[in-house]
């Protein structure tokens, strides 16, 4: 076993631990979840998604305006058609067109 494989195995195990921990804790807490934690968890998706979007817009492929346009187009299409794939294709198309025009 190379040392790299051991590294991979350790990381895999720890990754699994973080994945399982939330489910295990959530089940133990269950119905008696403290209201503060409840309120906190309500906002986790919003905060996490925003934190996942921001770096991709601030720094990413192409020009910043192109990336912003991509999001704008994706958002509009998502609102109208309510389909993720359509929004993604439209967003990417918007990005490529905008980037082509800008550069």
């Amino acid at each position: 076993m190379t040392e790299r494989l051991i590294l991979v195995a350790v990381i895999a195990a720890l990754t699994y631990a973080t994945r399982y921990a939330g489910f295990a804790l959530g089940r133990v807490g269950g119905q008696t979840m403290p209201p503060a934690l409840e309120r906190f968890l309500n906002y986790v998706p919003i905060a996490a998604f925003a934190a996942l979007v921001a770096p991709g817009v601030a720094d990413g492929p192409g020009a910043l305006p192109s990336r912003v346009i991509a999001i704008g187009v994706a958002a509009v299409v998502a609102l109208r058609l309510n389909r993720l794939w359509a929004a993604l294709i439209a967003g990417m198309a918007g990005f490529w067109i905008a980037d082509f025009l800008i550069s």
Binding site: L5, R19, G22, A48
Partner: protein
């Protein structure tokens, strides 16, 4: 969601005899979750191909690279791993960094537990949790928001979580096969698919000004923290900071 603190999930409802037989079959929910991720296969493929190439350039062998994708199944952590390895970082540093990067999964698990309930899930939690990803979390949350009483949270989540495994593993293999050649065209902005996806998942959640504020604060935090800390830590700071702010604003408003 009932506002007095109790959460009546469809699962609990079934356990208590409410909504008998209203849920769709497990298998069809599994497939629905699996299919819901198809648009994201588009983003995963170039990412994993790139990873396959870069991992080898960093010194990982073909089998090690492929195994890393199949065992870890966490793109961000894997990229961090090979990047730090390439920089000759100490193994303990690599392990700690990837661990912190993965801590957000705990929040996802807690968050998802609310709709999964206390009872049994299928597959059992140790298996269901194993394949959790940012994207499957996002898609599952979005689907849960629809308030469809016939949905099965566990089946849908599992389907969504395993969906990316195939393109991820195959694309890694493709990257390995490509060897040292990184086709630039492949990367042509396709990585934008991820922030685009999360933007599309985020927008419907922003139903109040408070939620908009939380999103903006989280975005600011991740960019600011990203200047000092590495990506995983910044993400964690932004998620905890943003959600914490939201919780604080809620408790102030409730007067408690």
């Amino acid at each position: 969601m009932v506002s007095d603190g109790a959460v009546l999930t469809p699962r609990m409802g079934r356990e208590f005899g409410i909504h008998p037989g209203q849920e769709r079959p497990w298998r069809s929910e599994l497939r629905r979750g699996y299919a819901a991720m198809f648009p994201l296969w588009l983003g995963v493929a170039p990412f994993a191909v790139t990873y396959g190439v870069l991992a080898q350039q960093a010194g990982f062998g073909a089998i090690e690279t492929q195994l890393s994708s199949m065992l870890i199944y966490a793109g961000a952590a894997q990229m961090a791993m090979i990047s730090l390895f390439d920089d000759d970082a100490a193994f303990i540093a690599i392990i700690l960094t990837t661990f912190v990067l993965n801590l957000r999964h705990i929040l996802y698990g807690l968050s998802l537990s609310r709709e999964l309930g206390m009872g049994g899930v299928r597959p059992r939690r140790p298996i269901l949790a194993a394949v959790l990803t940012d994207e499957s979390y996002g898609i599952a949350v979005a689907d849960g928001q629809k308030g469809d009483p016939a949905r099965r949270a566990d089946a849908f989540l599992f389907g969504a979580s395993i969906s990316l495994y195939t393109p991820f593993a195959l694309s890694t293999l493709t990257g390995i096969a490509l060897g040292g050649v990184l086709p630039d065209a492949e990367k042509l902005g396709l990585e934008l698919v991820f922030p685009l996806s999360f933007a599309v998942l985020l927008l419907p959640l922003l139903r109040t000004w408070r939620k908009v504020a939380v999103a903006l604060v989280a975005a600011t935090l991740v960019l600011a923290a990203g200047q000092i800390f590495d990506g995983g830590v910044a993400l964690l700071i932004a998620t905890i900071g943003g959600a914490g702010l939201g919780a604080m604003l809620d408790s102030r408003a409730a007067g408690s």
